[in-house]
Amino acid sequence: MNNYFQLFGLTEQFSLDQAALMQTYRDLQKSVHPDHYANQGQQAQRLAVQKSAQINDAYQTLKSPLLRAQYMLLLVGVELKGEQQTLRDPMFLMQQMEWREELDDLKRSQDIDKLEAFSDAISAERAALNSNIASAFDAGEHRQDVQTWANEVRKLSFMDKLLTEIAQAEDALDY
């Protein structure tokens, strides 16, 4: 059973060339997509659908920094997706509450400029966190200190969610 990195012929590391990833994805889909097997009987169709779906899933996972980080943790035995456990980092929890309150205030004030400034600030924080994770994962630190890096990835997940909510709030003001 190939892992997603192997499926794409990549070494297992966090930093990867997005353009090359997309090119590999397209080449792989060209070779296994069910459209190539449309007239070859139902068994071939079934197999092609499964393979093609696997490649789609692998591509989505490898493409997204958050999903990629979660997947690399899964490969060392920590499953973060759908977990119930919350973050044990009082500092970050405080920070999280402040950000949420700020978003609520901005939603109420309907100030699109401030909302955008807030969005930029969070994006910058997220980028910094992402780059920390990238260098640590590339150096293999997530294997040695699984819990610390699982926590950092939990933070990344929270920030992605927050950014989605900010975008939704901006949308709501747009119309």
Partner: protein, 622 residues
């Protein structure tokens, strides 16, 4: 070698023999069929030289009318003349009643609540009505191409949900078509335009048809048509423009809906459509109404019409903006905007779309024909006439799929705009000791509450091994195939026992009901059920054998041991002999046997093609 005995000259089709493949646009107001001839996609005409088949079916005691014949009779017999049947596909009677529009039909329902119509020929449902249109187009294609059709691509609105797609596929099956693929209408249009122009970049397809609105954002690059996002409304189209005019006419004539007969209602809809069409060229039109209460003349200016439809057009613009956002594309990255569907002839629609995107939309290919033309191109590839290496469609699922959880909430399993095919597994556990069954409710939609999403199906998992509460882990896999259709499988993890699934589609028909429909349609299809089953099994046997012969020639030596190859070839030979006989059940079994024998081979070939793709890629990079 056994191989030679299987491939007798002239017996199995040579790989290069051209197959007959068609693309069908099964539209709300009209339908078309197209094919690729001498490298060019073209629509096929009826005996009067017309490309369009109005999507109208009239049920009379003696006969079933379709197209122009049915349309001509629509005002005389509105109750039995079904127009815009597409709007009823995969819908319940309750759904239809929830719409403000009044219909002249004698509605009834199928056993599980789908819309059906009482007619002089008995109860017919939307799938059967659509199958009449598809049969008509199939016959047209057979006579134009002088032969049996090997396969068809049928288009559906991108925004169609699972029930609507399944209904379309069922209709095609009922019409005796081998469905190669359901493809999305905007994607088909992009294919027709993209291959025509050879452009590369991001294009937006704005598709406003008679009954549905779709918008798709695609990236075209080196023959790959990758849909980035799609959006729309499966009940918004030119028909709704007409309905607004009808309401305006009724007000203008000082009448109320209660005073109108069903012939009046149909007449008003016909006049409204003509008025709308005339207003595309004229600044104002006098609509002449001949109703049972008298004759009326109503002045309609283009400006007035535009004010009537303004909110509907704005709705399409909002959906377009959302699709762009979902795709992560800015307005300035868009290379082209393509207009599809008859309703894009309305000047206001063109102007508003041009304003939103900041560029003039393309209309060089007839917006009524472009979808069928694109579908034919894809059919030509899928049936094997054209190499699939040159072209690939990667489409997405338009609406999220989710499951009902505690408290009537929906948990998303597959988010909208995920590239298909896609499979996601979800784990469930039992909450009682010895629990052996479990109910799962699958929904489609973006909202958080079950009541706001569309129910697709309820599954009962049975045969779960009786274990302590929480000890049984059931892994349920949701798979959406390249047609955008959902299937579900389940397995208990600790014991490896696969749990049985009993599917109850909320708005669809069961296999039995479909078989029953095929049986009861025999009366006016020329062939009988047995002959049809036999023909279908023979075609599948041919397909399997032909594909294997090609595969063995290419990779047989590399991937199979001598004994594996001998066993497979023996099975193929047996299938070939049985397929010459008349027993469809025996052919089905022989196909299954060959499938088992070739399963390893097929899997190895798939892995080989992945390795080859990767190797080729690395060479490029170095």
């Amino acid at each position: 070698m056994a191989l030679l005995q299987i491939a007798e000259p002239g017996q199995s089709a040579a790989p290069h023999q051209k197959k007959l493949a068609i693309g069908i646009d099964l539209g709300t107001t009209h339908s078309l069929v197209a094919t690729v001839r001498s490298g060019q996609s073209e629509t096929l005409l009826d005996s009067h030289g017309r490309a369009i088949l109005p999507s109208v079916v009239g049920y009379q005691t003696e006969q079933v009318l379709t197209g122009y014949d049915a349309l001509a009779n629509s005002e005389q017999d509105p109750a039995n003349t079904i127009v815009s049947v597409k709007r009823f596909m995969g819908r319940s009677l309750a759904d239809v009643k929830a719409r403000a529009q009044s219909f002249p039909y004698n509605f009834t329902t199928t056993d599980n609540g789908l819309v059906a119509f009482n007619t002089p020929r008995g109860k017919v449902n939307a799938i059967e009505v659509s199958a009449e249109l598809l049969s008509q187009l199939k016959q047209r294609a057979q006579s134009a191409l002088s032969g049996d059709i090997d396969g068809a691509v049928i288009t559906v609105p991108a925004y169609f949900d699972d029930a609507q797609r399944q209904a379309t596929k069922d209709a095609a099956e009922l019409a005796g078509l081998n469905v190669l693929r359901l493809i999305n209408e905007p994607t088909a249009a992009a294919l027709a335009y993209g291959l025509d122009s050879g452009d590369e970049g991001v294009i937006v397809v704005y598709d406003l048809g008679g009954g549905t609105f779709d918008v798709s954002v695609l990236r075209l690059q080196k023959g790959i048509f990758e849909v980035l996002a799609t959006g729309g409304d499966s009940v918004l189209g030119g028909d709704d423009f007409d309905q607004l005019l009808v309401a305006d006419f009724i007000r203008g004539a000082g009448l109320t809906t209660a005073q109108l007969s069903s012939s009046d209602v149909r007449h008003l809809a016909n006049v409204a459509r003509q008025t709308k069409e005339q207003l595309s060229d004229a600044a104002s039109v006098v609509a002449e109404l001949m109703l049972s209460t008298g004759k009326y003349q109503i002045d309609v200016s283009r400006q007035h019409f535009e004010s009537l439809i303004d909110s509907l057009v704005r709705k399409t613009l909002r959906a377009s903006k959302r699709a762009l956002k979902d795709a992560g594309i800015n307005l300035d990255e868009i290379l082209q905007v393509v207009m599809v569907g008859g309703s894009t002839r309305v000047p206001k629609v063109r102007a508003d779309v041009a304003e939103l995107f900041g560029k003039q939309p393309l209309t060089t290919i007839d917006p009524d024909q472009v979808v069928a033309l694109g579908a034919a191109i894809q059919a030509d590839v899928l049936v094997g006439n054209k190499s699939a290496d040159d072209m690939l469609l990667l489409d997405v699922i338009p609406l999220s799929l989710g499951l009902e959880t505690m408290g009537g909430l929906v948990e998303k399993v597959i988010p909208r705009n995920s590239t298909i095919p896609i499979a996601k597994a979800q784990e469930f556990t039992t909450f009682k000791d010895g629990q052996t069954a479990m109910m799962i409710h699958v929904l489609q939609g973006e909202r958080e509450l079950v009541d706001d999403c569309r129910s697709l199906a309820r599954f009962t998992l049975t045969d779960i091994p009786p274990l302590a509460a929480g000890a049984a882990h059931i892994r349920v896999t949701f798979q959406v195939d390249a047609d955008g259709l959902l299937s579900v499988s389940a397995m208990e993890k600790s014991t490896g026992v696969s749990a049985s699934i009993d599917v109850k589609p909320s708005y669809g028909l069961s296999e039995d009901e479909i078989t029953h429909m095929i049986k009861s349609s025999i009366t006016h299809a020329e062939q009988d059920m047995g002959a049809r089953m036999l023909a279908e099994q023979r075609v599948e046997a041919d397909r399997v054998l032909e594909a294997l012969i090609v595969a063995l020639a290419a990779d047989g030596d590399k991937l199979l041991s001598c004994s594996e190859r001998e066993a497979l070839e023996a099975g193929m030979l047996e299938l070939k002999q049985i397929a010459d006989g008349d027993d469809d059940k025996a052919i089905e079994q022989a196909i299954e046997q060959v499938n088992q024998l070739s399963e390893q081979f097929a899997a190895r070939r798939m892995d080989l093609s992945i390795r080859t793709a990767l190797a080729g890629h690395k060479v490029d990079e170095v």
